[in-house]
């Protein structure tokens, strides 16, 4: 699968990247990868922005893949039940995004 859009999320300013991601969803061709490798911590505002991104991505049928999310941030996403709305990949498992989706995503509420 071709990756249409790849954005590096700035660890010191998560929200602007997420806003940019929302703006560029139309050109994502089905998949958007957000690289979280520099993100050590996430706050409430960023979570709200991620929830917004997930909602719009759903509407536009774009799969959002979060790459290299650290386990602390991953736990936060699980606690606020946002993890299920994203796919996850790890640079150690390059090009296995699709397979990892099932392994990391929590059970769907549906």
């Amino acid at each position: 699968m071709a990756i249409a859009l790849w954005l590096n999320v700035d660890g010191k300013g998560v929200i602007p990247t997420l806003q940019e991601a929302v703006e560029r969803l139309d050109g994502a061709e089905g998949e958007l990868v957000l690289d979280f490798v520099t993100v050590c911590r996430i706050d409430s505002m960023a979570l709200r922005a991620m929830e917004g991104l997930a909602t719009i991505a759903d509407q536009k049928a774009v799969k959002v893949v979060l790459r290299d999310v650290n386990v602390d941030v991953y736990k936060v996403l699980k606690l606020v039940k946002l993890a299920r709305r994203f796919s996850f990949s790890n640079s150690n498992h390059d090009r296995r995004t699709t397979k990892l989706e099932g392994r990391h995503a929590e059970p769907s509420a549906k």
């Binding site: 050590c40 911590r41 996430i42 706050d43 409430s44 505002m45 979570l47 709200r48 602390d72 941030v73 736990k75 936060v76 606690l79 606020v80």
Partner: protein, 888 residues
């Protein structure tokens, strides 16, 4: 709870009548979502992060202590502003002093010696009910411990304390967020309804309810289905005992009971005063500003401040001054009166003032004796104060201890003010709190002073511990030809030799006799040459008592030495119950039944073995046979081990061939089973391997050439060395099967072992159907241990499987060379008879402690299968092919 909300709580926790509007639900959902997100974000915070925020909050709370106290008094019309300032300061400064150095993030405690670590996990979202009587101090305290533990809190203040509570929450929240706390970490319900509380208590994302309120609030919290810290009402009994420092005690009581006009529910309610000091105590109360009510005034108080319908205090009196209450009731008092004291004659509904009174009215009771005083305190405790707080003033430690035993209170305060003492950290080392756990008697889950550790899920990280092991054998072992000469070095006034008719007849008893000092009174006890029965043991004990023996020499095979071990046990400790001592156990060190340590006699046991197999001269085991029930009882304890073992081959030179084979194969079985046992250690392995090497080399020679002194000597040593291995590593399922089969069909122990041995080896070498849990082993190693044994014996093979096969083949060859029957059928036991016996034998084998150390957990069905394999038997070739089939 910090104060009784009983009179006021209907406004906070009444059952809901109307459903919540959609707008209201959206508002409440918003609060929960905000708190949930905050608590999730909070999980990323470090200890340093939260400590920094907590310190800032504490300083803010201290700065605003007076402002918040003024607001609280103005709004609630309860208590004393100056005291509320102190409460606010205690809630911040004293709480901080307790929590500041405590770890609440990540690893919070380590127990390296136990390989344990405790790791903190935040609760998440806490829904917290706030009381009217200590509104702001409770907010400050809960906010501090919530941030320290990385939790979010939604507060629900009492409606009549909403302004001061929400102001306290605002101050804490803004300070916390300013210093980095997640947004939404605190929220305070704006004007709320009872339905709001009910909704939040049941919300799926609320993880804990902290209900500081009255009994209904606590009940509602616990009924919500959520984990809850509900804390109940109080009725603090005080025992003013005659040895107390009266001046100090009375000041303490006045301080406590008048503090914030008595609103703290840990404050003193009824003081029981010893008769000897009663008058003096009242005089001192009076001198210090208390008004002692006369009978009429007491009656007036009862009628006014206690609701005659409910029996509880009237809300209008809560937190009011003594002078105001006196004026309202119509009791003339001095303007500076601090406290109204009402003598009462009993406890219960007919004595209305014996209940909780959260205002400066104190009831007193004259105790005619310590016994009566304690009983009245118990009555008060049971009249609404169970699990809460109690106070005693005394210098008599025995009385203080007795008080603590008979009073059910989470906090028993000694020689200090009850209310402030219960808060902790001021007068004592109790954990500081504004929330008192009252235990199950108070409908609570804890008796603790609620603090940070109640706001955490504490995870225990338990690393595998290296189990302690042991290697215990008799202190002295003498071996090789003529080792028996060493008997003479042991002084004895009266020695009893226990032996058998045959050994006496062939002169072995005389050999021993020659090495015993002429000064020693010597007696010989001849017992049947068979596994010991209780009658034999009893006769032996009678003889030991009769001769007042201080030394027992057991000369014989395993049966004689086992008999002597049990005789010694019963002689030294007649109370020993053999049936009880044979109770099953899993781990020798954790067994329920302990062998007796109290002894009325002491006798040295010297064991001289005349067979080369059981190794009973060094083992802590003894087998008792119950022929009537067709079973054997195995006793196991290191106290059974002989004191001295003599391994002298001269006593085995004349052993018949069959006995040589039977006992020799017992030795081989010991080594094989100890080697693969779950209790095996490098210490026992070295013994097991060496014994196996000696036995495989010398047993056939000793069998075929009985006069070969070297072979006899080495086999005798092998038996003792193997016994040292299994004394510490135990044996396995082979012995369990052999015990059951041997007892049922009267087959010699070694022979029974031989019939089972190849089948059990093949069984243990397979991947088990069920692994045996064992802290002593790492992985399943039985097959590898067998392979090592094959290497020690030089049997060849390239893989573990080949080596195991070779070991089984070599064992079968050994059995054949010793002319053992290779099937139970060959013994003349019919299939029908055997089939009939199998169920009971299986039960018996399963109960046998020998099986507990087997590397593979023997299932009942597997035991049945093993019995039948032994019945049918296998030739060498067939056995090998069976093995191939099983391991394929």
């Amino acid at each position: 709870m910090i104060v009784s909300e009983a009179a006021r709580e209907p406004a906070q926790i009444a059952p809901s009548a109307e459903p919540l509007s959609e707008e209201r639900i959206a508002y409440l959902e918003g609060l929960v979502t905000q708190a949930r997100v905050a608590s999730a974000v909070f999980t990323q915070f470090t200890q340093e992060d939260v400590d920094r925020i907590v310190k800032a909050m504490v300083l803010a709370g201290l700065k605003q202590a007076q402002h918040l106290a003024e607001l609280a008094v103005e709004e609630t019309k309860l208590g004393v502003m100056e005291d509320k300032v102190i409460k606010n300061m205690v809630a911040t400064e004293f709480a901080y002093d307790y929590v500041k150095d405590k770890r609440t993030v990540g690893v919070i405690r380590e127990f390296p010696e136990r390989n344990l670590m405790e790791v903190a996990e935040p609760i998440g979202v806490i829904f917290s009910l706030l009381p009217i009587t200590n509104p702001t101090s409770t907010v400050l305290f809960k906010c501090i411990i919530a941030i320290k533990t990385r939790n979010a809190v939604i507060f629900s203040p009492h409606p009549n304390a909403w302004r001061c509570c929400s102001e306290a929450v605002r101050i804490m929240y803004e300070t916390a967020v300013k210093h980095g706390a997640p947004e939404g970490v605190f929220a305070c319900l704006q004007t709320h309804t009872l339905q709001d509380n009910a909704f939040l208590m049941r919300h799926k994302d609320v993880s804990l309810i902290d209900a500081t309120g009255g009994p209904n609030a606590v009940k509602a919290a616990y009924s919500s289905g959520k984990p809850a810290l509900g804390v109940g009402p109080g009725n603090t009994p005080v025992y003013l005992e005659k040895t107390a420092d009266l001046d100090a005690s009375i000041v303490d009581i006045i301080i406590s009971k008048t503090f914030d006009n008595g609103t703290i529910c840990a404050s003193e309610q009824t003081v029981v005063i010893d008769d000897e000091i009663y008058e003096l105590a009242l005089e001192k109360f009076s001198e210090l500003g208390a008004h002692i009510c006369n009978e009429k005034e007491t009656r007036l108080l009862e009628q006014t401040v206690i609701d005659p319908q409910t029996g509880f205090m009237q809300p209008m009196a809560v937190g009011q001054k003594a002078t105001d209450i006196a004026r309202f009731v119509g009791i003339p008092v001095e303007p500076n009166t601090k406290l109204l004291i009402a003598p009462i004659l009993g406890v219960g509904r007919e004595h209305p003032l014996s209940v909780e009174k959260l205002f400066p009215v104190l009831s007193v009771y004259r105790g005619k004796s310590a016994d009566e005083a304690l009983k009245v305190c118990v009555d008060v405790n049971h009249a609404g104060g169970l699990g809460h707080t109690a106070v005693i003033f005394s210098r008599n430690d025995a009385i203080i201890r007795k008080f603590s035993e008979v009073i059910n209170a989470g906090r028993i305060i000694v020689n200090s003010p009850g209310s402030i003492g219960a808060l902790g950290a001021v007068y004592n080392d109790l954990v500081p709190t504004f929330s008192f756990g009252c235990g199950t008697a108070g409908g609570n889950s804890t008796t603790d002073n609620v603090n940070i550790f109640h706001y955490l899920n504490i995870k225990r990280l338990a690393r595998r511990t290296q189990a302690h092991m042991w290697f215990r054998v008799p202190n002295q072992i003498y071996f090789n030809m003529n080792a028996v000469e060493n008997v003479r070095q042991f002084p004895s006034a009266s020695t009893v030799i226990v032996s058998t008719p045959v050994l006496e007849q062939i002169g072995h008893v005389d050999i021993v006799r020659r090495h015993i000092s002429p000064e020693t009174r010597l007696h010989v006890l001849i017992i049947p040459d068979a596994e010991p029965e209780i009658e034999v043991v009893t006769q032996g004990v009678d003889a030991l008592n009769f001769y007042k023996a201080d030394q027992i020499i057991a000369l014989g095979g395993g049966s004689v030495i086992d008999a002597a071990k049990i005789m010694k046990l019963k002689y030294e400790s007649p109370q020993a119950d053999l049936e009880e001592l044979a109770a099953p156990f899993l781990d020798l060190r954790k067994r329920v039944i302990e062998f007796p340590t109290e002894k009325i006699h002491a006798a040295r046991l010297i064991a001289i073995s005349t067979t080369s197999g059981t190794g009973s001269e060094v083992t802590p085991f003894a087998v008792l046979t119950d022929k009537k029930r067709g079973r054997k009882t195995t006793l196991a304890d290191y106290s059974l081990s002989p004191d001295v073992a003599i391994v002298d081959p001269q006593f085995v030179m004349s052993m018949p061939k069959t006995l040589t084979a039977d006992t020799g194969i017992d030795c081989v079985t010991h080594a094989l089973e100890a080697g693969v046992s779950n209790y095996a250690s490098p210490y026992t392995d070295s013994n097991a391997m060496q014994a196996l090497r000696l036995a495989f080399n010398y047993l056939p020679i000793a069998y075929e050439h009985p006069g070969d002194e070297e072979a006899r000597c080495m086999m005798h040593n092998a038996a003792c060395i193997a016994a040292m291995a299994f004394s510490n590593a135990s044996v396995g399922v082979n012995h369990a099967l052999a015990h059951a089969f041997g007892a049922r069909f009267g087959v010699a122990h070694g022979r029974a072992n031989a019939l089972m041995l190849p089948h059990v080896m093949a069984y243990n070498a397979e991947v088990p159907a069920k692994f045996m849990p064992s802290p002593y082993t790492h992985g399943y190693v039985a097959n590898k241990k067998y392979a090592t044994m094959a290497d020690v014996l030089g049997l060849g093979g390239h893989t573990v499987q080949e080596k195991v096969e070779n070991l089984i083949v070599a064992t079968e060859q050994l059995l054949d060379r010793l002319d053992f029957p290779r099937s139970i059928a060959e013994l003349g036991i019919s299939k029908e008879e055997f089939a009939q016996a199998v169920p009971e034998m299986v039960r018996s084998a399963f109960e046998d402690p020998s099986g507990r150390s087997n590397p593979r957990m023997p299932l009942m069905t597997e035991l049945v299968e093993l019995f039948w394999k032994a019945y049918e038997g296998r030739s060498l070739t067939t056995a090998t092919s069976v093995f191939h089939t099983q391991t394929a």
